[in-house]
């Protein structure tokens, strides 16, 4: 039956997170925007303790469904919970949300491509009494959206049964905290055979403290400044054989390994959509608040030609926001119900990235001199918003994926 009632655990979680957003994030939002690369430890420790109380910060949805007292399986809602969490935390502050300890994208990759044993082994580190961070490293200087062009290599040292990784990664969200602040990990995408193209690509878990990996640079960004974006160099970085994600056959040169790695994105793209919606909602609420202070209320139900220009803009923003959010919910609902959601995941990312940029840009415009000023957070959200249309696949790459899906084309047929 089609329905839209947020499940009880989500409603409860939202209540708690709203408090964190309002009282732990917003008050420090501006400070950490203006103090790039300073780590918000108070906030991190607070979130870590909350997560410990709530039962762990693996940061990804549980694989196994919970059961009722009578043994009946409850519907899976793990991804839905996660999407709602990210939406609310991004409503608080998207840069700070990216600093929340836990597995992050690293966990997402392990959940999507790892074996059950690997999940248990690698994700446990996020459930100790000390905060730890996970990250995922794909992008290289010459390989962004075209990740089959990456040049980082993994060579098996058969004697020691270890992988030896060499290369350089850029744009690693949380890369510095994952490697230097606590017992975290980075999932590195590398090729086991550069001549094999896509078929050679695998993902590897590199834990903090592994020899031969180091952070070489922290980027200075337009927005999400509270979050570190690191460059990593791997120089004869050694990790155990079993740190290659997936079943042992992934060592064979087929595209299965690559597909496994790519499956990460079907899971994470709607989450970026969720985060985008959080920023957009914060923006729209502030705009309405500012208008209300001037005695302007938005009238619902009029024909468009009777609305004021401001009403039209605000109503369009609200329509875009709601529809984008529902696309996210649909995509994660599909993930929870184990339905193939590649098309819906990309749609939610396309729409999320679109609406958050449009809404934040319109908000700065509508608020005139107030919008452009740093007195309000609108100008910050304008800057923070843009990343949602870029990371985890640009809006254009996601359009390509949606197009291939609706046209029934393979990658070779629509480049």
């Amino acid at each position: 039956m089609i329905e839209f009632e947020a499940p009880k655990p989500i409603a409860k979680q939202n209540e708690m997170l709203k408090m964190a957003a309002d009282y732990r994030m917003r008050p420090i939002s501006r400070y950490f925007d203006e103090h790039e690369h300073e780590i918000p430890w108070d906030f991190i420790n607070f979130m870590h303790s909350v997560q410990q109380m709530a039962g762990g910060g693996g940061g990804m949805a549980p694989s196994e469904p919970k059961k009722d007292a009578d043994g009946k399986e409850r519907p899976r809602i793990g991804y839905q919970m996660l999407a709602c969490m990210l939406e609310m935390l991004s409503y608080g502050d998207v840069g700070l949300y990216l600093c929340v300890p836990g597995g992050g994208l690293g966990s997402a990759a392990i959940e999507a491509a790892g074996t059950l044993e690997q999940k248990q082994k690698f994700l446990a580190r996020f459930n100790t009494d000390k905060p730890a961070f996970g990250a995922m490293a794909i992008t290289e200087a010459q390989a962004g959206s075209d990740n089959s062009a990456l040049r980082t290599t993994a060579v098996l040292d058969k004697e020691k049964n270890e992988w030896v990784l060499n290369g350089e990664k850029i744009f690693v969200t949380c890369g510095q905290k994952a490697l230097e602040e606590g017992d975290g990990l980075v999932v590195i995408w590398a090729s086991i055979d550069l001549s094999a193209g896509r078929a050679g690509i695998r993902s590897f878990v590199v834990p903090a403290g592994a020899p031969g990996i180091k952070v070489t640079k922290l980027e200075h960004k337009m927005g999400i400044r509270a979050s570190d974006t690191a460059s990593l160099v791997l120089q004869d970085c050694r990790i155990p054989f079993e740190n290659i994600l997936g079943s042992p056959e992934v060592e064979q040169k087929t595209t299965e390994g690559f597909k496994g790695a790519m499956a990460t994105f079907d899971a994470t793209r709607p989450l970026i959509g969720a985060s985008a919606v959080g920023v957009a909602r914060a923006t729209l609420e502030l705009v309405k608040e500012q208008l209300a202070m001037q005695g302007i209320a938005i009238r619902y139900g009029l024909p468009r030609q009777k609305l004021t220009s401001i009403e039209r803009d605000v109503l369009d923003m609200e329509m875009m926001l709601k529809s984008a959010w529902l696309l996210v919910i649909k995509a994660v609902w599909m993930a929870d119900n184990r339905k193939a959601n590649s098309k819906e995941a990309s749609m939610s990312k396309v729409r999320g990235g679109d609406v958050v940029t449009k809404i934040t840009q319109k908000a700065v415009e509508l608020m005139g001199p107030l919008g452009y000023s740093r007195d309000l957070l609108l100008e910050k959200w304008f800057r923070d918003a843009k990343i949602s249309d870029i990371y985890e696949g640009t809006g254009q790459i996601n359009r390509l994926i949606v197009a291939r899906n609706i046209l029934g084309y393979r990658g070779s047929e629509l480049r």
Partner: protein, 364 residues
């Protein structure tokens, strides 16, 4: 919980409608638009699928509870076949659905069984008015109550099948509030004008109707002498409009996809050009976004949630933009061929402009 899965009954109903839309509506669509008329036997066949009947409680001759969710699912599916045909099939609902939603017990018993148990017959509603700022919440047609008599005065337009309608539900402003009034055909003071000629929806017969001090008994006020809340009726009109827009837009996108995958240009298929593929990806995303918004609004309405009215309004304005964008692009993707009436996309584009301006000609 969240769920995007229709019930088994809804699925069966949709399957039936899919077959009808595919085998009956679509093949008749082009000629109906050219000839300004939909074959009556096809309208009757569509009526017999039982969409309205399934949404009318047993006590009044139907076989189910009213459900906006079922309504939007069914309407999108049928509109994929043909817009005017779907609106013709739904026309008796213009009269019946407001009675289901807001009628008094007496009104339900008096009017509903005859409509839902019988063949398709022209019952209609008059709400739209011939002014650029037509606003269902601020109608220029007035109703005055004097003892046991109500007097209606004003001008309506876009009234489906007004020339042959047995009864009409007329919406008018009573002390500034929109209220419905049941008006039997032949009541003195009603003048049905010449059939209207429009940009699209040509196969649906629409008429202007004048009400010159039309007198009806006070008991003909929808909901009884004390009237009714108009908001759920308007929300149901918006949602009907949004789902019609979804059906037409989906049809246009599918046609454009098939064409673009078939047609060669500069050494590859049209669809293999990113410029075109991206257009279609955006069309598909837009349709899906408005669809889930429409579903949620319908669910809010069914569960009596406070936000239903606002959300239905958002779905309505979103659907108006969506339909224009999608149908315009479908014509563009076919290039010169899109402009030729042998292909249906130009018809869908003409229809695509209707949704923003004309809520009120359908209700779920």
């Amino acid at each position: 919980m969240y769920s995007f899965e229709p019930t088994e009954e809804q699925r069966m109903l949709i399957d039936t409608i899919t077959r009808y839309a595919h085998s009956n509506l679509r093949p008749a669509s082009h000629d109906a638009d050219e000839e300004n008329q939909f074959p009556l036997n096809l309208i009757k066949k569509g009526w017999e699928l039982g969409v309205l009947q399934a949404s009318t409680p047993e006590a009044y001759g139907g076989f189910g509870e009213h459900s906006a969710v079922t309504g939007v699912l069914a309407t999108e599916e049928m509109a994929w076949g043909d817009l005017a045909g779907t609106m013709a099939v739904m026309t008796p609902g213009l009269f019946a659905v407001p009675i289901i939603l807001a009628g008094s017990e007496d009104q339900k018993k008096e009017y509903l069984p005859a409509i839902v148990e019988g063949d398709w017959s022209p019952y209609s509603a008059a709400i739209i008015e011939p002014y650029f700022d037509y606003d269902p919440n601020d109608l220029k047609t007035t109703a005055n109550v004097d003892g046991d008599t109500i007097t209606l005065s004003g001008e309506k337009s876009y009234v489906p099948f007004a020339n042959e309608a047995k009864m009409m539900l007329v919406f008018a402003s009573l002390d500034g509030k929109t209220q419905g009034f049941i008006v039997p055909a032949g009541t003195g003071g009603i003048t049905v004008g010449e059939r209207q000629k429009l940009l699209g929806i040509n196969a649906l017969p629409l008429y202007p109707v004048k009400f010159d001090k039309v007198q009806i008994p006070a008991s003909n006020r929808l909901g009884g002498v004390n009237g009714h809340d108009f908001a759920p009726i308007l929300a149901s009109q918006w949602l009907a409009n949004a789902s019609l827009a979804l059906g037409v837009s989906r049809a246009a996108l599918e046609y454009a996809i098939d064409y673009a995958k078939d047609r060669e240009v500069l050494g590859s298929k049209v669809a293999q050009k990113q410029a075109i593929a991206f257009m279609m990806a955006e069309m598909a995303t837009e349709i899906e976004a408005i669809r889930v918004l429409t579903w949620e609004a319908a669910w809010l309405l069914d569960t009596g949630k406070e936000d239903a009215y606002k959300e239905a309004y958002l779905a309505h304005i979103g659907a108006g933009d969506m339909a224009m964008m999608v149908t315009d692009r479908a014509v563009q993707i076919l290039g010169g061929h899109g402009y030729i009436r042998e292909h249906p996309v130009e018809k869908w584009m003409r229809e695509g402009r209707s949704f923003a301006s004309l809520p009120g000609m359908a209700i779920i």
